[in-house]
Protein backbone atom coordinates (compact mmCIF):
# COMPACT_ATOMS: atom_id res chain seq x y z
CA UNK A 1 0.00 0.00 0.00
CA UNK A 2 1.46 3.40 -1.03
CA UNK A 3 1.64 6.27 1.43
CA UNK A 4 0.90 9.82 0.27
CA UNK A 5 1.87 12.81 2.37
CA UNK A 6 0.49 16.29 1.76
CA UNK A 7 1.26 18.76 0.32
CA UNK A 8 1.62 16.65 -2.84
CA UNK A 9 4.61 17.14 -5.10
CA UNK A 10 4.58 16.12 -8.74
CA UNK A 11 6.97 13.23 -8.08
CA UNK A 12 4.59 11.83 -5.44
CA UNK A 13 1.79 11.34 -7.92
CA UNK A 14 3.19 10.87 -11.44
CA UNK A 15 3.71 7.16 -10.96
CA UNK A 16 0.38 6.39 -9.34
CA UNK A 17 -1.77 3.99 -11.33
CA UNK A 18 -5.55 3.71 -11.38
CA UNK A 19 -6.92 1.10 -9.00
CA UNK A 20 -3.92 1.49 -6.70
CA UNK A 21 -4.81 1.79 -3.01
CA UNK A 22 -3.17 4.60 -1.06
CA UNK A 23 -3.10 5.92 2.52
CA UNK A 24 -3.06 9.70 2.89
CA UNK A 25 -1.41 11.49 5.82
CA UNK A 26 -1.04 15.19 6.52
CA UNK A 27 -3.38 18.14 6.05
CA UNK A 28 -6.31 18.07 3.63
CA UNK A 29 -9.14 20.58 3.22
CA UNK A 30 -12.88 19.92 2.98
CA UNK A 31 -14.94 21.66 0.33
CA UNK A 32 -18.26 20.74 -1.23
CA UNK A 33 -20.87 22.51 -3.38
CA UNK A 34 -21.16 25.92 -1.72
CA UNK A 35 -17.45 26.28 -0.88
CA UNK A 36 -16.61 25.49 -4.51
CA UNK A 37 -19.03 28.12 -5.73
CA UNK A 38 -17.54 30.70 -3.33
CA UNK A 39 -13.94 29.96 -4.31
CA UNK A 40 -14.84 29.95 -8.01
CA UNK A 41 -16.50 33.35 -7.73
CA UNK A 42 -13.59 34.72 -5.69
CA UNK A 43 -11.08 33.66 -8.37
CA UNK A 44 -13.19 35.23 -11.14
CA UNK A 45 -13.37 38.49 -9.17
CA UNK A 46 -9.60 38.41 -8.60
CA UNK A 47 -10.02 38.08 -4.83
CA UNK A 48 -7.65 36.14 -2.64
CA UNK A 49 -8.69 32.60 -1.71
CA UNK A 50 -8.99 31.65 1.98
CA UNK A 51 -6.29 29.01 1.48
CA UNK A 52 -3.31 28.45 -0.78
CA UNK A 53 -4.34 25.53 -2.99
CA UNK A 54 -0.84 24.77 -4.19
CA UNK A 55 -0.12 21.04 -3.73
CA UNK A 56 -3.25 20.53 -1.64
CA UNK A 57 -6.02 17.92 -1.64
CA UNK A 58 -9.66 19.01 -1.47
CA UNK A 59 -11.92 16.43 0.20
CA UNK A 60 -15.55 16.53 -0.90
CA UNK A 61 -17.39 16.00 2.37
CA UNK A 62 -19.96 17.61 4.61
CA UNK A 63 -19.24 16.00 7.98
CA UNK A 64 -21.68 15.36 10.82
CA UNK A 65 -21.38 17.80 13.74
CA UNK A 66 -18.57 16.97 16.17
CA UNK A 67 -19.81 15.56 19.48
CA UNK A 68 -18.08 17.19 22.51
CA UNK A 69 -15.65 14.31 23.04
CA UNK A 70 -14.66 13.84 19.39
CA UNK A 71 -12.50 15.51 16.74
CA UNK A 72 -15.26 15.24 14.14
CA UNK A 73 -18.50 13.38 13.41
CA UNK A 74 -18.94 10.91 10.56
CA UNK A 75 -17.12 12.24 7.50
CA UNK A 76 -17.36 10.15 4.34
CA UNK A 77 -17.18 11.44 0.76
CA UNK A 78 -20.02 13.00 -1.20
CA UNK A 79 -20.67 12.55 -4.96
CA UNK A 80 -17.83 14.35 -6.77
CA UNK A 81 -19.57 15.20 -10.05
CA UNK A 82 -21.41 18.11 -8.45
CA UNK A 83 -18.04 19.84 -8.20
CA UNK A 84 -17.11 19.19 -11.88
CA UNK A 85 -17.90 22.66 -13.22
CA UNK A 86 -15.60 24.31 -10.67
CA UNK A 87 -12.62 21.95 -10.68
CA UNK A 88 -10.59 23.21 -13.63
CA UNK A 89 -10.27 26.71 -12.22
CA UNK A 90 -9.10 25.32 -8.86
CA UNK A 91 -6.59 22.99 -10.54
CA UNK A 92 -5.24 26.07 -12.35
CA UNK A 93 -4.53 27.53 -8.90
CA UNK A 94 -2.23 24.61 -8.09
CA UNK A 95 -4.67 22.12 -6.54
CA UNK A 96 -3.05 18.68 -6.89
CA UNK A 97 -5.59 16.24 -5.52
CA UNK A 98 -9.34 15.78 -5.33
CA UNK A 99 -10.88 13.22 -2.98
CA UNK A 100 -14.50 12.12 -3.29
CA UNK A 101 -16.59 9.36 -4.82
CA UNK A 102 -17.86 8.53 -8.30
CA UNK A 103 -16.90 9.44 -11.85
CA UNK A 104 -15.95 12.88 -13.18
CA UNK A 105 -16.86 14.75 -16.36
CA UNK A 106 -14.61 14.51 -19.42
CA UNK A 107 -13.59 18.17 -18.93
CA UNK A 108 -12.27 17.37 -15.46
CA UNK A 109 -10.24 14.44 -16.82
CA UNK A 110 -8.69 16.80 -19.41
CA UNK A 111 -7.89 19.35 -16.69
CA UNK A 112 -6.33 16.61 -14.55
CA UNK A 113 -3.96 15.79 -17.44
CA UNK A 114 -3.28 19.47 -18.16
CA UNK A 115 -2.40 20.33 -14.56
CA UNK A 116 -0.87 16.92 -13.67
CA UNK A 117 -3.19 16.27 -10.75
CA UNK A 118 -4.91 13.21 -9.32
CA UNK A 119 -8.44 12.17 -8.46
CA UNK A 120 -8.86 9.80 -5.54
CA UNK A 121 -11.96 7.90 -4.44
CA UNK A 122 -12.66 6.94 -0.87
CA UNK A 123 -15.49 4.88 0.59
CA UNK A 124 -18.96 6.39 0.48
CA UNK A 125 -21.10 5.35 3.45
CA UNK A 126 -18.11 4.62 5.68
CA UNK A 127 -18.21 7.97 7.49
CA UNK A 128 -17.76 6.56 10.99
CA UNK A 129 -14.70 4.53 9.96
CA UNK A 130 -13.15 7.44 8.05
CA UNK A 131 -13.73 9.84 10.98
CA UNK A 132 -11.31 7.68 12.97
CA UNK A 133 -8.55 8.58 10.50
CA UNK A 134 -9.04 12.29 11.14
CA UNK A 135 -6.95 13.46 14.09
CA UNK A 136 -7.63 17.22 14.02
CA UNK A 137 -10.29 19.46 12.49
CA UNK A 138 -10.87 23.19 12.40
CA UNK A 139 -12.97 25.54 10.28
CA UNK A 140 -10.79 27.93 8.29
CA UNK A 141 -13.27 29.62 5.94
CA UNK A 142 -16.96 30.30 5.33
CA UNK A 143 -18.16 29.23 8.82
CA UNK A 144 -21.64 30.50 7.92
CA UNK A 145 -21.94 27.56 5.52
CA UNK A 146 -22.15 25.11 8.44
CA UNK A 147 -21.32 21.60 7.23
CA UNK A 148 -20.28 23.14 3.88
CA UNK A 149 -17.60 25.36 5.47
CA UNK A 150 -13.95 24.75 4.55
CA UNK A 151 -12.27 22.67 7.24
CA UNK A 152 -8.59 21.96 7.70
CA UNK A 153 -8.31 18.26 8.55
CA UNK A 154 -5.26 16.46 9.76
CA UNK A 155 -5.49 12.87 8.60
CA UNK A 156 -3.48 9.75 9.31
CA UNK A 157 -3.56 6.76 6.95
CA UNK A 158 -6.77 7.91 5.32
CA UNK A 159 -7.67 5.19 2.75
CA UNK A 160 -8.35 5.97 -0.92
CA UNK A 161 -8.08 4.43 -4.37
CA UNK A 162 -6.53 6.17 -7.38
CA UNK A 163 -9.54 6.76 -9.64
CA UNK A 164 -8.09 9.07 -12.34
CA UNK A 165 -4.33 9.30 -12.74
CA UNK A 166 -2.13 12.09 -14.16
CA UNK A 167 -2.37 10.52 -17.63
CA UNK A 168 -6.15 10.63 -17.54
CA UNK A 169 -6.68 6.89 -17.11
CA UNK A 170 -10.00 6.30 -15.39
CA UNK A 171 -10.92 3.42 -13.06
CA UNK A 172 -14.65 3.83 -13.63
CA UNK A 173 -16.32 1.70 -16.30
CA UNK A 174 -17.58 3.49 -19.36
CA UNK A 175 -20.82 1.81 -20.52
Amino acid sequence: MKHLTTPLREKDIVNLQIGEEVLISGVIYTARDMAHKRMYEAILKGEELPLNLSGQILYYTGPSPSPPDRVIGSAGPTTSNRMDDYSELLLAQGLKGMLGKGNRAEDVVKAIIKYQAIYLATIGGAGAYLAKRIIASSIIAYPELGTEAIRRLEVEDFPAVVAIDVRGNNVYKDF
Binding site: S64, G73, S74, I123, G124, G127, K173
Partner: protein, 280 residues
Amino acid sequence: MRFINSQDIIEKVAAAVIKANTVLPTDVFKAIANALVYEDSLTARNIIEIILQNAHIAESEGMAICQDTGLVVVNVCLGQDVHIVGTSLETAINEGVRIAYKAGYFRNSVVNDPILRVNTNDNTPVIINYQLVSGKELSLTISPKGAGSENMGQLAMLKPLVGLKGVKDFVLEVVKKASANPCPPIIVGVGIGGNMEKAVQLAKGAVLRPINLRNELAYLADFELELLKAINELGIGPQGLGGRTTALAVNVEVFATHIASLPVAVNLSCHATRRVTIRI
Protein backbone atom coordinates in the same frame (compact mmCIF):
# COMPACT_ATOMS: atom_id res chain seq x y z
CA MET B 1 -61.15 3.02 20.46
CA ARG B 2 -57.56 3.22 21.71
CA PHE B 3 -55.93 6.48 22.81
CA ILE B 4 -52.26 7.21 22.09
CA ASN B 5 -50.61 10.27 23.58
CA SER B 6 -48.55 12.33 21.13
CA GLN B 7 -45.75 12.62 23.72
CA ASP B 8 -45.35 8.84 23.53
CA ILE B 9 -45.04 9.10 19.73
CA ILE B 10 -42.42 11.87 19.99
CA GLU B 11 -40.21 9.82 22.33
CA LYS B 12 -40.50 6.61 20.33
CA VAL B 13 -39.85 8.36 17.02
CA ALA B 14 -36.76 10.09 18.46
CA ALA B 15 -35.34 6.77 19.74
CA ALA B 16 -36.09 5.04 16.43
CA VAL B 17 -34.44 7.80 14.37
CA ILE B 18 -31.26 7.52 16.47
CA LYS B 19 -31.28 3.73 16.04
CA ALA B 20 -31.92 3.97 12.29
CA ASN B 21 -28.96 6.29 11.79
CA THR B 22 -26.51 4.27 13.87
CA VAL B 23 -27.48 0.59 13.51
CA LEU B 24 -27.40 -1.12 10.12
CA PRO B 25 -30.35 -3.53 9.63
CA THR B 26 -29.29 -7.18 10.21
CA ASP B 27 -30.39 -8.39 6.76
CA VAL B 28 -28.30 -5.67 5.07
CA PHE B 29 -25.23 -6.37 7.24
CA LYS B 30 -25.48 -10.11 6.50
CA ALA B 31 -25.78 -9.54 2.76
CA ILE B 32 -22.69 -7.29 2.75
CA ALA B 33 -20.71 -9.85 4.80
CA ASN B 34 -21.86 -12.58 2.41
CA ALA B 35 -20.27 -10.70 -0.49
CA LEU B 36 -16.85 -11.71 0.90
CA VAL B 37 -17.70 -15.31 -0.03
CA TYR B 38 -17.65 -14.70 -3.77
CA GLU B 39 -15.82 -11.38 -4.21
CA ASP B 40 -12.28 -12.00 -5.41
CA SER B 41 -11.02 -8.50 -6.28
CA LEU B 42 -8.68 -7.37 -3.51
CA THR B 43 -9.89 -3.76 -3.61
CA ALA B 44 -13.52 -4.90 -3.50
CA ARG B 45 -12.77 -7.12 -0.51
CA ASN B 46 -10.96 -4.30 1.31
CA ILE B 47 -13.90 -1.96 0.71
CA ILE B 48 -16.39 -4.53 2.00
CA GLU B 49 -14.25 -5.08 5.12
CA ILE B 50 -14.20 -1.32 5.76
CA ILE B 51 -17.98 -1.09 5.28
CA LEU B 52 -18.48 -3.89 7.84
CA GLN B 53 -16.05 -2.25 10.29
CA ASN B 54 -17.87 1.03 9.75
CA ALA B 55 -21.14 -0.60 10.86
CA HIS B 56 -19.47 -1.90 14.03
CA ILE B 57 -17.98 1.51 14.87
CA ALA B 58 -21.26 3.32 14.21
CA GLU B 59 -23.27 0.96 16.40
CA SER B 60 -20.81 0.65 19.28
CA GLU B 61 -19.96 4.36 19.41
CA GLY B 62 -23.36 5.77 18.48
CA MET B 63 -22.00 7.52 15.40
CA ALA B 64 -23.93 8.07 12.18
CA ILE B 65 -23.29 5.15 9.76
CA CYS B 66 -22.99 7.79 7.03
CA GLN B 67 -22.63 11.55 7.52
CA ASP B 68 -25.49 11.98 5.06
CA THR B 69 -28.27 11.24 7.52
CA GLY B 70 -30.53 12.47 4.76
CA LEU B 71 -34.11 13.38 4.44
CA VAL B 72 -36.34 11.32 6.72
CA VAL B 73 -39.32 9.44 5.29
CA VAL B 74 -41.91 8.03 7.67
CA ASN B 75 -44.46 5.52 6.40
CA VAL B 76 -47.41 5.54 8.78
CA CYS B 77 -49.88 2.66 9.12
CA LEU B 78 -52.60 4.02 11.35
CA GLY B 79 -55.22 1.65 12.76
CA GLN B 80 -58.65 3.22 12.29
CA ASP B 81 -59.56 2.53 15.94
CA VAL B 82 -56.69 4.71 17.19
CA HIS B 83 -57.28 8.22 18.49
CA ILE B 84 -54.21 10.43 18.96
CA VAL B 85 -54.36 12.83 21.91
CA GLY B 86 -52.25 16.00 22.25
CA THR B 87 -50.53 17.41 19.17
CA SER B 88 -51.20 16.18 15.62
CA LEU B 89 -49.41 13.07 14.40
CA GLU B 90 -47.48 15.19 11.88
CA THR B 91 -46.28 17.57 14.60
CA ALA B 92 -45.27 14.67 16.85
CA ILE B 93 -43.25 12.92 14.12
CA ASN B 94 -41.42 16.13 13.19
CA GLU B 95 -40.68 16.86 16.84
CA GLY B 96 -39.25 13.34 17.33
CA VAL B 97 -36.95 13.84 14.34
CA ARG B 98 -35.89 17.30 15.57
CA ILE B 99 -34.90 15.87 18.98
CA ALA B 100 -33.03 12.90 17.46
CA TYR B 101 -30.92 14.97 15.04
CA LYS B 102 -29.77 17.25 17.85
CA ALA B 103 -29.15 14.49 20.40
CA GLY B 104 -27.40 12.20 17.89
CA TYR B 105 -25.14 14.92 16.45
CA PHE B 106 -26.55 14.08 13.03
CA ARG B 107 -26.06 16.42 10.10
CA ASN B 108 -28.95 18.69 9.18
CA SER B 109 -29.34 18.07 5.47
CA VAL B 110 -32.69 19.70 4.71
CA VAL B 111 -33.21 23.07 2.99
CA ASN B 112 -36.53 24.90 3.20
CA ASP B 113 -37.08 25.37 -0.53
CA PRO B 114 -35.55 23.67 -3.60
CA ILE B 115 -34.55 27.01 -5.15
CA LEU B 116 -34.06 29.36 -2.17
CA ARG B 117 -32.13 26.65 -0.25
CA VAL B 118 -31.96 27.83 3.35
CA ASN B 119 -31.08 25.05 5.82
CA THR B 120 -33.92 24.44 8.29
CA ASN B 121 -31.28 23.51 10.89
CA ASP B 122 -33.28 20.69 12.48
CA ASN B 123 -33.64 18.25 9.55
CA THR B 124 -37.38 18.81 9.31
CA PRO B 125 -39.79 18.71 7.58
CA VAL B 126 -40.17 14.96 7.33
CA ILE B 127 -41.89 13.30 4.35
CA ILE B 128 -44.87 11.37 5.74
CA ASN B 129 -46.94 8.78 3.84
CA TYR B 130 -50.19 7.73 5.50
CA GLN B 131 -52.03 4.45 5.20
CA LEU B 132 -55.24 3.83 7.12
CA VAL B 133 -55.63 0.20 8.17
CA SER B 134 -57.96 -1.79 10.42
CA GLY B 135 -57.11 -2.32 14.08
CA LYS B 136 -55.76 -0.45 17.09
CA GLU B 137 -52.08 -0.22 16.26
CA LEU B 138 -49.93 2.64 15.03
CA SER B 139 -46.92 1.44 13.04
CA LEU B 140 -44.19 3.74 11.73
CA THR B 141 -41.39 2.79 9.35
CA ILE B 142 -38.64 5.36 9.58
CA SER B 143 -36.06 5.60 6.81
CA PRO B 144 -33.48 8.39 6.67
CA LYS B 145 -31.93 8.36 3.20
CA GLY B 146 -28.99 10.20 1.69
CA ALA B 147 -29.01 11.98 -1.65
CA GLY B 148 -26.18 10.01 -3.30
CA SER B 149 -28.46 7.08 -4.05
CA GLU B 150 -31.78 8.96 -4.11
CA ASN B 151 -30.53 11.26 -6.89
CA MET B 152 -29.93 8.27 -9.20
CA GLY B 153 -33.52 6.95 -9.39
CA GLN B 154 -35.59 7.16 -12.58
CA LEU B 155 -39.09 6.66 -13.96
CA ALA B 156 -40.11 5.45 -17.44
CA MET B 157 -43.51 5.14 -19.03
CA LEU B 158 -42.85 2.12 -21.26
CA LYS B 159 -45.01 0.66 -24.02
CA PRO B 160 -47.00 -2.22 -22.50
CA LEU B 161 -45.90 -4.88 -24.98
CA VAL B 162 -42.17 -4.55 -24.15
CA GLY B 163 -43.00 -6.67 -21.09
CA LEU B 164 -40.39 -7.95 -18.64
CA LYS B 165 -37.63 -7.66 -21.24
CA GLY B 166 -38.31 -3.91 -21.56
CA VAL B 167 -38.39 -3.54 -17.79
CA LYS B 168 -35.08 -5.36 -17.45
CA ASP B 169 -33.41 -3.16 -20.08
CA PHE B 170 -34.59 -0.03 -18.27
CA VAL B 171 -33.42 -1.24 -14.84
CA LEU B 172 -29.97 -2.08 -16.23
CA GLU B 173 -29.78 1.32 -17.95
CA VAL B 174 -30.52 3.07 -14.63
CA VAL B 175 -27.93 1.03 -12.72
CA LYS B 176 -25.25 1.60 -15.38
CA LYS B 177 -25.89 5.34 -15.45
CA ALA B 178 -25.78 5.48 -11.64
CA SER B 179 -22.47 3.57 -11.59
CA ALA B 180 -20.50 4.50 -8.44
CA ASN B 181 -22.71 7.39 -7.34
CA PRO B 182 -25.33 5.52 -5.27
CA CYS B 183 -22.56 3.87 -3.17
CA PRO B 184 -22.68 0.26 -4.32
CA PRO B 185 -23.27 -2.46 -3.28
CA ILE B 186 -26.80 -1.13 -3.67
CA ILE B 187 -30.34 -2.31 -3.11
CA VAL B 188 -32.50 -1.88 -6.22
CA GLY B 189 -36.21 -1.18 -5.77
CA VAL B 190 -38.39 -1.61 -8.85
CA GLY B 191 -42.05 -0.55 -9.04
CA ILE B 192 -44.03 -1.77 -12.03
CA GLY B 193 -47.59 -0.74 -12.89
CA GLY B 194 -50.18 1.70 -11.57
CA ASN B 195 -49.56 5.20 -12.96
CA MET B 196 -46.65 7.63 -12.54
CA GLU B 197 -47.18 8.23 -8.83
CA LYS B 198 -47.99 4.62 -8.01
CA ALA B 199 -44.94 3.22 -9.78
CA VAL B 200 -42.69 5.50 -7.71
CA GLN B 201 -44.50 4.56 -4.50
CA LEU B 202 -44.04 0.88 -5.36
CA ALA B 203 -40.32 1.34 -6.02
CA LYS B 204 -39.86 3.26 -2.77
CA GLY B 205 -41.73 0.52 -0.89
CA ALA B 206 -39.71 -2.19 -2.65
CA VAL B 207 -36.38 -0.72 -1.57
CA LEU B 208 -37.51 -0.88 2.08
CA ARG B 209 -38.54 -4.54 1.98
CA PRO B 210 -36.06 -6.78 3.89
CA ILE B 211 -33.64 -8.03 1.26
CA ASN B 212 -33.75 -11.68 2.34
CA LEU B 213 -37.43 -11.84 1.28
CA ARG B 214 -38.40 -12.45 -2.34
CA ASN B 215 -41.67 -11.37 -3.97
CA GLU B 216 -44.51 -13.79 -3.20
CA LEU B 217 -45.41 -14.13 -6.88
CA ALA B 218 -43.17 -16.83 -8.37
CA TYR B 219 -42.59 -15.06 -11.68
CA LEU B 220 -41.49 -11.90 -9.87
CA ALA B 221 -39.25 -13.79 -7.43
CA ASP B 222 -37.53 -15.30 -10.49
CA PHE B 223 -37.33 -11.88 -12.15
CA GLU B 224 -35.71 -10.38 -9.02
CA LEU B 225 -32.97 -13.03 -9.16
CA GLU B 226 -32.55 -12.62 -12.92
CA LEU B 227 -32.11 -8.85 -12.49
CA LEU B 228 -29.66 -9.32 -9.61
CA LYS B 229 -27.53 -11.67 -11.71
CA ALA B 230 -27.55 -9.29 -14.70
CA ILE B 231 -26.66 -6.28 -12.50
CA ASN B 232 -23.80 -8.11 -10.80
CA GLU B 233 -22.43 -9.17 -14.19
CA LEU B 234 -21.96 -5.47 -15.05
CA GLY B 235 -18.78 -5.46 -12.96
CA ILE B 236 -19.41 -2.04 -11.37
CA GLY B 237 -18.56 -3.50 -7.95
CA PRO B 238 -18.29 -1.93 -4.50
CA GLN B 239 -17.95 1.88 -4.85
CA GLY B 240 -17.82 1.44 -8.64
CA LEU B 241 -14.19 0.34 -8.41
CA GLY B 242 -14.82 -3.09 -9.95
CA GLY B 243 -15.99 -6.43 -8.61
CA ARG B 244 -18.87 -8.87 -8.51
CA THR B 245 -20.97 -7.12 -5.89
CA THR B 246 -22.83 -4.23 -7.49
CA ALA B 247 -26.19 -5.01 -5.87
CA LEU B 248 -27.10 -6.89 -2.69
CA ALA B 249 -30.68 -7.50 -3.82
CA VAL B 250 -33.38 -6.46 -6.27
CA ASN B 251 -36.88 -6.06 -4.84
CA VAL B 252 -39.79 -5.77 -7.26
CA GLU B 253 -43.38 -4.74 -6.50
CA VAL B 254 -46.29 -4.59 -8.95
CA PHE B 255 -49.80 -3.13 -9.13
CA ALA B 256 -52.68 -3.10 -11.61
CA THR B 257 -52.30 -0.62 -14.46
CA HIS B 258 -54.06 0.95 -17.46
CA ILE B 259 -54.42 -1.06 -20.71
CA ALA B 260 -52.15 1.48 -22.44
CA SER B 261 -49.53 1.84 -19.67
CA LEU B 262 -46.44 0.12 -18.33
CA PRO B 263 -44.95 2.55 -15.79
CA VAL B 264 -41.62 1.48 -14.27
CA ALA B 265 -39.82 3.29 -11.46
CA VAL B 266 -36.38 2.38 -10.18
CA ASN B 267 -35.26 3.60 -6.77
CA LEU B 268 -31.71 2.87 -5.66
CA SER B 269 -30.48 2.64 -2.09
CA CYS B 270 -26.88 2.54 -0.87
CA HIS B 271 -25.21 -0.19 1.18
CA ALA B 272 -26.02 1.97 4.22
CA THR B 273 -29.75 1.47 3.78
CA ARG B 274 -31.35 2.60 7.00
CA ARG B 275 -34.80 1.61 8.26
CA VAL B 276 -36.52 0.94 11.57
CA THR B 277 -40.15 -0.05 12.13
CA ILE B 278 -41.83 0.72 15.44
CA ARG B 279 -45.26 -0.35 16.63
CA ILE B 280 -47.10 1.69 19.21
